[in-house]
């Protein structure tokens, strides 16, 4: 395996130091598996987008999904809370178990799945409503019994580190917030339905570095209560926040010429960045860090 260039090695070291400051000891394998992806392939119509992915996602851990564009990270992420059901033609093959129970089994209500496994999107997508109503929306539609909605909204916004910035303008439109604030509002909105797992698809892609940092700090805080799975294009980000990292890539089928995404390697973040087992991981990471 080729040695990465010295400056790349340094950059990785720096981010991993951040990582070690921000994270705890990570066991070799997740102690409690919340989501078990078991040899899953996802199709769009006839097109096999990702094939044979197996992943055990740990409870109260942050897992990063990395890899080049089009390798199926978003596809796998959307499969984890059945958001793929909403795309016509999308089909998930193979079980994904949530606390041991196949979420694609007949009789499972996808609405229930999505309430427990929330999602934050690439572009902040607050509702065209007030800040307050954005948070209260989830509890209202899911019929949650909350003592006082005001207190509840405050709690959710506090958890998302947004309360101090918005407490005086709760009745104003969410569109008045900055991009970073909107994204934290979307995280608060997700938290408000008390999910177990939060999926994030490149949540910082449209944010500036400072807003990005705030989201990363927030993720580290949320880890103790939730499981976070984040897709990111940003290697530094993965190195900074994730306990574990899964590297995906797309391989061209020699027979059909079609590109299919696949999981190359899944391990502790330190392992993936310092001594990956697969040369494709090594190449991708040093390329992106260069």
């Amino acid at each position: 395996m080729p040695e990465p260039m010295p400056q790349v090695r340094d950059a990785i070291e720096t981010e991993l130091q951040h990582h070690q400051q921000a994270t705890r000891e990570v066991p070799d394998h997740p102690e409690r598996t919340v989501l078990e992806v078991d040899d899953v392939s996802v199709y769009y119509g006839d097109y096999l987008a990702v094939r044979n992915v197996s992943l055990d996602l740990g409870h109260n851990e942050i897992t990063a999904l990395i890899g080049p564009s089009g390798c199926g990270k978003s596809t796998i992420l959307r499969s984890l809370n059945r958001m793929n059901d909403l795309i016509t033609g999308a089909r998930v093959e193979g079980p994904i178990r949530y606390w041991g129970q196949d979420m694609y089994a007949p009789g499972i209500d996808p609405i229930e799945v999505r309430r427990r496994i929330g999602m934050v999107f690439q572009k902040p997508n607050p509702f065209p409503k007030s800040i307050y109503d954005n948070i209260a929306y989830g509890p209202r539609v899911t019929g949650m019994q909350v003592g006082s909605m005001d207190d509840y909204v405050e709690q959710a916004l506090t958890k998302a580190a947004l309360w101090d910035e918005v407490k005086d303008k709760l009745r104003q439109s969410a569109y008045g917030l900055s991009g970073g604030q909107q994204q934290r509002l979307c995280i608060a909105r997700t938290i408000a339905v008390q999910p177990d797992v939060i999926l994030m698809d490149e949540p910082c892609a449209s944010l500036d570095p400072i807003a990005t940092l705030r989201i990363e700090e927030l993720m580290a805080e949320l880890r103790d209560q939730y499981t976070i799975i984040i897709v990111t294009h940003n290697m530094q980000q993965a190195a900074r926040v994730a306990d574990r990292t899964a590297f995906f890539t797309a391989a061209i089928d020699p027979v059909t010429g079609e590109r299919h995404g696949e999981l190359v390697e899944y391990d502790k973040t330190t392992k993936i960045f310092e001594s990956p087992a697969d040369s494709r991981t090594e190449g991708y990471i040093s390329g992106r860090f260069g």
């Binding site: 997508n125 065209p128 989830g138 539609v141 339905v193």
Partner: protein, 305 residues
């Protein structure tokens, strides 16, 4: 100098030289002529409209008075008014709205959000809706007539009959504009709602429809203002009656403003023509007001996402 001369040094090589002859190809004689033609067409349309408006206004001003609103039709022009027609228009348009808006919005939402586009019947419905807007208005009068006969109503010229005809007439407008408004709501908003555990129906009710509301309102108002000015289907239902009482219910006989105007212009005496001009002003004012409201709503609530 108009040709690009490569310079020798590396930095200069990237600098192209722009022509300084002062002749612009944006204004050739042809393009100027074309612009004049365009302006002329605009002018003709505008002048015609202005002359028509001013002429009607000058004619009708003397009879745009209280009597127009309070009087009943009469054989003596100075006593006649359009009270039953004004109330009739309100009744019919109100009923039309009650029939057409829920139906049109529901149809549009179904087609846009729930219908499976791969099914042939859904595609057939889509094609037919676009075609419906090209159907002559009078056909809808016949349809309403048929509907009334089918349910065994003898009396043709009743509020509900007119409203059925006009509702069918404006359904395509409402459906098409609602679909456009619903389609313009970004996918991400729906995803955000579904991702917190809302059902598709809740998402439609609480997110998509409110976000599409300005567009729906605009389309609905434009449709209703079209219905307000429509006479043909109502004439077919026998709407040319000389009414001396106010309409008071769905089964009441009625006349509307366009029909009243039509019947007055058919009178030989000039006084009636003045009366017709006065009523036209009122009708035009109403339609302008509605269209103005539609434009206001559209601009006021333009895309907020």
């Amino acid at each position: 100098m108009s040709t690009y001369t490569p310079a020798t040094s590396g930095a200069d090589a990237r600098r192209a030289v722009l022509s300084t002859s002062g002749r612009s190809r944006e204004q050739t004689p042809q393009s100027v002529l074309f612009m004049i033609l365009l302006w002329l067409s605009l002018l003709i349309g505008f002048v015609t409209l202005a002359v028509l408006l001013i002429d009607t206004f000058a004619d009708g001003l003397t009879r745009l008075d209280g009597r127009l609103f309070t009087g009943y039709p009469s054989s003596r022009a100075e006593e006649a008014g359009a009270r039953p027609a004004i109330l009739g228009s309100l009744w019919v348009i109100g009923t039309t709205a009650v029939l057409a808006v829920p139906l049109g919005v529901a149809a549009a939402v179904h087609l846009e959000e729930f219908a499976d586009r791969k099914r042939w019947w859904n595609r057939l419905i889509e094609i037919n809706i676009s075609n419906l807007s090209a159907v002559p208005a009078i056909i809808y009068g016949m349809l309403a007539l048929g509907t009334l006969a089918l349910v065994g109503v003898q009396q043709k010229n009743i509020v509900i009959g007119g409203a059925i005809a006009l509702a069918m007439l404006i359904l395509p407008v409402i459906i098409i504009s609602t679909r456009e408004a619903v389609r313009a709501v970004p996918r991400e908003l729906r995803d955000g709602s579904l991702a917190v555990g809302a059902t598709p129906l809740q998402t439609t009710w609480r997110i998509t429809l409110p976000a599409a509301m300005p567009g729906i309102a605009t389309g609905t108002i434009l449709g209703l203002s079209r219905a307000l000015g429509e006479a043909a289907p109502l004439l077919l239902l026998g709407g040319l009656v000389f009414l001396r009482f106010d309409p008071n219910g769905l089964l009441s006989q009625f006349t509307t403003m366009p029909i009243q105007i039509f019947s007055w212009t058919a009178q030989p005496q000039a006084e009636f023509h003045t009366l017709a001009a006065g009523a036209s002003m009122l009708l035009m004012g109403l339609v302008l007001l509605m269209n103005g409201a539609a434009i206001y709503i559209r601009n006021r609530y333009q895309k907020r996402w």
